[in-house]
């Protein structure tokens, strides 16, 4: 659909309404005025004709002659020259016997009598009344030029319609001005938005905007705020990530320099190379965890997640197999009691596996040699605990913060594992709790 300006549409509608209304009123007025004026002039013409009919045209004596002349003079001098009245007197057989020496000179008798008719006299339209004289021997014709009548009608109309039309036009102009003014905040809003830089996500002001537009602006501002917080989150994440990657990179760089040093012993060089290898694995792990976390947060990824039934026994088995070697190296004892149904009954297999993997990885990484690790899954909650660790309440409360690593940590984790666990638990409507009692650290994912 074509988008036409509401302002222009309203203005056009007003102009059309005003024109129609004004035109109709003018038409009606013209019609009424014409009727009144016709009636008036007709009466005047009849009166004049009656006066003339009383003259004895057969025998015009001095007295009647002068009366007639006066009458003629009166007619000719009446008001203004445009009045254009004329008369003529005919015999019954159509012979003109008398006229006013001017307009009436050209009247001609066409056989019609006893009323008004329109006759073309010297290319002009005349309205002429025909009556018999008092003695019925003569025919009197009194005419008036129609052009003059129309002029009078227009003059009259002009006088009282002009102010009315003027008022109408003024009202229309005021109306258009009001429309224009009322639309100004909207125009300002659109100019504001057009001139905005892409990075400007500050809310749009709704000051002075009509109440009808306010919900729109509010919705728009809400959207802006969402984008803003999303961008802030992303920026914070990138800043954090690059900051966190610098430490492993600094370590790698130093170890590489040590390995390359002149005159370094074979053993020291090998140690530096081992360190490099470990450092690279650690940096790779950090990058991987970062990618997982950023992917988890993207809606595109979330839309692709499966909704399948989760069997926690099937899920846990490959993980146990994968971690078997590491557990043997540390002589860790693993006990598990896994119900097929866990706190997440339906969801994405990969995501749930990621949750369990990170908890298991965490337990294994931060427990001492010969520690006990226990994994329990019930429909209500998933618990992973490991022995031999003591954390302060402050540390416990900050565990799932991004990049947080407890003080004095020998193990080099990414500091993101538990953030990932927290995210997945939240995503599936579960809560994540940490506790540390009798040197046993427990992480619980509880169905809400």
């Amino acid at each position: 659909m074509k988008n036409t300006s509401l302002r222009i549409r309203l203005m056009m509608a007003f102009i059309v309404i005003f024109a129609l209304f004004g035109g109709l009123s003018a038409g009606v007025s013209w019609f009424e005025t014409k009727e009144k004026i016709d009636e008036f002039f007709d009466t005047y013409q009849i009166a004049l004709a009656r006066q003339l009919s009383s003259v004895d045209w057969a025998d015009l004596d001095d007295d009647s002659q002068s009366r007639t002349n006066r009458l003629v003079k009166n007619i000719q001098n009446a008001d203004d020259e445009d009045e254009a009245l004329g008369f003529a007197v005919f015999t019954r057989d159509g012979q003109k016997v008398f006229h006013d020496n001017e307009n009436g000179k050209n009247f001609y008798y066409g056989g019609y009598i006893g009323g008004f008719m329109t006759q073309t006299v010297e290319d002009e339209q005349w309205r002429i009344v025909w009556i018999f004289s008092a003695d019925e021997k003569y025919i009197i014709a009194v005419g008036q030029e129609l052009k003059y009548r129309n002029d009078v009608i227009w003059d009259t109309l002009e006088e009282f319609i002009a102010p009315w039309i003027g008022g109408l036009l003024l009202a229309m102009l005021i109306m258009l001005g009001i429309i224009s003014r009322e639309f100004r905040p909207l125009r300002r809003l659109s100019t504001d938005l057009q001139n905005r830089s892409a990075s400007d996500l500050s809310p749009v002001t709704s000051d002075g905007l009509p109440a009808e537009i306010e919900p729109l602006v509010k919705a728009f501002n809400r959207h802006l705020a969402q984008i803003d917080s999303m961008i802030r989150r992303e920026r914070g994440f990138i800043a954090n990530a690059s900051h966190e990657l610098r430490t492993p990179l600094a370590g790698l760089k130093i170890q590489l320099e040590v390995a390359r040093m002149d005159g370094i012993e074979e053993a020291a060089r090998n140690e530096a190379l081992d360190n490099l290898e470990q450092g690279l694995a650690r940096a790779a792990h950090l990058v991987e965890q970062l990618l997982i976390l950023s992917r988890l947060e993207s809606s595109v990824f979330q839309n692709k997640l499966n909704h399948e039934k989760i069997d926690w026994q099937i899920l846990a088995e490959p993980l146990f197999y994968e971690y078997q070697k590491k557990m043997q190296q540390k002589s860790v004892r693993l006990s598990s009691d896994i119900n097929a149904q866990g706190p997440v009954a339906e969801g994405d297999m990969l995501l749930c596996s990621l949750l369990l993997r990170n908890l298991l990885d965490n337990a294994l990484k931060y427990s001492p040699d010969r520690a006990d690790i226990n994994i329990t899954v019930t429909p209500e909650k998933l618990t992973v605990s490991n022995s031999g660790i003591s954390l302060s309440p402050e540390t416990l409360s900050r565990l799932s913060e991004r990049f947080f690593r407890p003080a004095g940590q020998a193990e080099q984790g990414s500091g993101l594992g538990l953030s990932i666990v927290r995210f997945i638990a939240d995503y599936y409507g579960c809560s994540l709790h940490f506790s540390n009692q009798n040197n046993i650290f427990t992480a619980e994912v509880v169905k809400l």
Binding site: I254, V258, M261, N275, A407, G408, A410
Partner: protein, 218 residues
Amino acid sequence: MKILLVEDDRLIGNGLQVGLNKSGFSVDWFTDGEEGEEALYQTAYDAVILDLGLPGKDGMSILTAWRQKKRSEPVLILTAIGDVDNRIKGLNNGADDYLAKPFSLGEVAARLNALIRRSGGQSSAQITWRNITYNQNTRQVEQNGKPVTLSPRETALLEQLLLNRNRVLSKEQLEEKLYSWDDDVSSNAIEVHVHHLRKKLGKDIIKTVNKLGYMLED
């Protein structure tokens, strides 16, 4: 030169310790903030490398605590690139210089040398004594304009003696400057190094002060 290193990252800490050792520094490395802070009160260090992003007690608090207790050892802080706020805060809190991660080993050594020199009121990296010239940056020793090859420990021992001319340095003091606390030091290590230095530079350059230690005398 004895350096205190407080850094929690294993790779950076290990790399700095090994690398700086090879450059003739002896490095005591602490991963824990509080232990690192305490170490400065226990041992005489020529300079400190302090990571600001320490877990537990952070570098900034440690630095502030040291300066409040009037410890004047030059401190080099390690910050992340772009972390201008912390850099400024660190310098305002009494740090003498900073390095942004990732940095190179050579740069750390050069900055440490400059810091130590400045803290001793010495502005040039070159020390000349009699016919011996020693450059602290290149760690090269020349006698009569000809280069003399010394081991890193021998260089460090000569450096200590040159920096403390006309002062007697005890065996213990020298051990402390030359070795870190986790080095295995044999009881006659210093005597062996002195012996080697005398062999390479001439018998009379290092004077033995009976039962007190060694010195270079004008």
